[in-house]
Amino acid sequence: MAVTQLVGAKIHRREDPRLVTGHGHYTDDLVRQGTAYAAFVRSPLAHARIKSIDVTDASKAPGVVGVYTARDFKGQLAGTHPAAPAFVAEKKYIPERFPIAEKEVCYQGEIVAAVIAESRGQAADAANMIQVEYQELPAVMDLEKALEASSPKVHEGAADNLCWDLAYTGPDITEAAFKEADIVVKQRILQNRLAPVPMEPRGVMAEYETFDKKLTIWMSSQNPHFIRLFVSGSMGLKESQVRVVSPDVGGGFGSKISPYPEDYLVPALARITDRPVKWIETRTESLQNATHGRGQFYDVEVAAKKDGTVLGMRVTQHLDVGAYVGTFSAFQACACLMAGGAYKWKGGISARTIGILTNRVPTDPYRGAGRPEATHLVERMIDLVARELKLDPVDVRRKNFIQPSEFPYTQNFGLVVDSGDYEKALDRALEIAGYEELRKKQAEGRKHGRYLGIGLSTWIELCGFGPSAATAPATGGIALVESAQVRVLPTGSVIVYTGTHSHGQGHETTFSQIVADQLGVPLESVELRHGDTAEGTSFGYGTYGSRSLAVGGVAVSKAVGKVIDKGRKLAAHLLEAAEDDVVFEHGSYHVKGSPDKTKAFGEVAFASYGMGLPEGMEQGLEAVAYFDPPNLVWPFGAHIAVVEVDPETGNVQLQKYVAVDDCGNIINPMIVDGQIHGGVAQAIAQALYEEVVYDEDSGQLKTGTLLDYSIPGIGEIPSLDLDHTVTPSPTNDLGVKGIGEAGTIAASAAVINAVSDALSPLGIKHVDMPASPDRIWNMMKGARK
């Protein structure tokens, strides 16, 4: 790369002026002439047979354009909801899923009817007039009972509720380790079901041009090209007839990756009614229907020696799939493959994942997806080993870390960890936190009945999906590489198209920093565009799995490289020099050894659209590149949480939080820190506050508003002390790794390790999430008996 001025600098975000002034364009801000509005009637029951639907009154209500039930969509939409292989290639049972229920509803919120009306209010009014007669069926809620032969079934008539049961490695491989062990530590660890809650709920607006047979969909999505693929297929349209535009997106956190029923129904309704149709999700609809994350429990056993060396692990994941299989639901099984964390397990890891259907909304990736669960379980187990052996948890970590000299390191499941220096990050975190002092303060506090706790999380992550050899089979064919197109206009300004799509990450800024540096042009000369399938390359792969920079940013850089190369040929021709003698530096081409013989990049761009080009060269200066990364990237870090638990109320006060993260080279430190802040906050939320609660008998969602589902407010998240180490990834030219999910992957373990540590004087070893006052109060009460 050329001389760096912008990369690595705190460049203020280019997207912010429009966003801070109220001039962003989120889906609900867009209107088409003649728009009609959709409202959906949803099942109030978790599981029921639909006996009848009476739409008579609704059809006659003011402003109603039409009322539609499943059979109206039969000729409009085909196929079933896509379920990717992800980390479970062979599934035992994938229930058929049509976007609207006809005979049976399997979770509360499943769509049974749709109303189109002239206004939102009229659509909502008419939806309330639709009479649906249900025959209630038993709801399957408990993961273990769901596996019993006598259990009712999530779908009537199904053989069982087992979606998958896959042993990556059998228990036999760890037999020797467990025989050799001085101690064996066992724990069941819960992963509370979470709702992603992007502040902008989902929304879809669609317009179908009947005579041109062209469909445009505007929607809040992380993944517009995949939506075009799925929806065009279902509607019987060519992919080329469909355009998906995803404008400003108000957060996603994984919940806007996969297609949803409304993504098919709204376009179908636009085609049926010959009107533009808009639907905007209410918050209650969002909590009921947007895919949830986590919702698992783990049974873990660790074999260790007296000196704290861990030998082997056995882990079984029970995963609540929900009523249907989410498109990337099985991605969450990567928790098993990442269960070893930052440590060496010479005696192996036995891992099994069991996916179980229940009458809840499906789970799918939520920020971190499988990797927070992996960190949480391994970091908890390391602490339990330390506790059992009365060792400092810092020492147990040091003893077992993969060492810097051992990278690239092939871990227990054959994944190759590209780089790392775990102890360096840990040392830095201990220093910032003042670990020794904290331990003294804790000991002193305990004498006075104070429950202070210190928790560590030395986390690692795999992200940047990903190499075609691994990801094409995981999606069912399409490799999760990334594309970019760079167009240099005649006067030298540049438009860059990327197949990733920001939903708050600031790609318009970071990607432009890379391009401006590489071309030696001002930032203002670079425009970054994304989120519209009508622009740029044929296919884009979206933003999730901390992939945008490590895959998409590298693709952009490669496309810029191609432009520079073509420019060099042309510059050599203009300078009457051999191509090999022309170098590109600081935004201009010059002949080696003759710095006065130069052509500025802008001059070359202009010339490329003119006459007299070298023999065989076509006009124009633009390039497309796809980047197929040779490996995933592996960020890591060390987090420390300090808490005090109120001995009377069980309330956890988070007093201090230190995060030292390593995402390789940093393009924009301000944005990196922002990602850590938000990620850590979401994991603190899981650790202390959030849980999707369904009634265990009826399957009714009890957390259907933000009053009941308490995402943390500004009073709940403390200031965070951040620092970084930099271990560049050897996997890509930029040396970058992902950072979008790091905070969420790291932090729940640090917080819960701290809470468990705080309560250790009571003999409490393990605390599940959320560590709410009510849970802790009950645990303390039990321990004091």
Partner: protein, 169 residues
């Protein structure tokens, strides 16, 4: 039956006939085209729709449009003047106090009210003053920084401060 409602928004008077059940936020967005005021929940938890009504911060989903009859309203679109960002907007930009930007207009308007009441708030007062607004992206760390920074700028630029204290009138 529709009711007449006249409001002054960002200095301009608007008269419309509206249904009595129409929420003020929908009136602003759908009738006046001011889509910078966002909707993030159904239950007045999130504060994305915060605006100033006669100088006071109000979640515009908690008011019917007809209740705003005669009111003087400032929305996020009324904060920047003559192409210059308001110091609070500038501070959110400078301190990276936003990511997806969806909650941001509400936070900026709530901050405008907070700083009008208390031009030099402590961190605790900032956290208390903005407890009615939710953000899912920033962990609030840089929002707190932005509010501190805005307070500082505004206390050294009294003209801008007056604008906010008067609710953008």
């Amino acid at each position: 039956m529709k009711h007449k409602v006249a409001v002054t928004v960002n200095g301009r008077r608007h008269e419309h006939e509206v249904e009595p059940r129409l929420l003020l936020v929908h009136h602003l967005r759908d009738n006046l085209g001011l889509t910078g005021t966002h909707i993030g929940c159904d239950t007045s938890q999130c504060g994305a729709c915060t605006i100033l009504v006669d100088g006071r911060a109000v979640k515009s989903c908690t008011m019917f449009a007809v209740q705003a009859e005669g009111a003087n309203i400032t929305t996020i679109e009324g904060m920047a003047r003559d192409g210059e960002l308001h110091p609070i907007q500038q501070a959110f930009w400078d301190e990276h106090g936003l990511q997806c930007g969806y909650c941001t207009p509400g936070f900026i308007m709530a901050t405008a009210y907070l700083l009008a009441q208390n031009p030099n708030p402590t961190e605790d007062e900032i956290r208390k003053g903005l407890e009615g607004n939710l953000c899912r992206c920033t962990g609030y760390v840089n929002i707190v920084k932005a509010v501190k920074s805005a307070a500082q700028t505004m206390s050294t630029a009294p003209a801008k401060k007056t604008t906010v204290a008067a609710g953008g009138e």
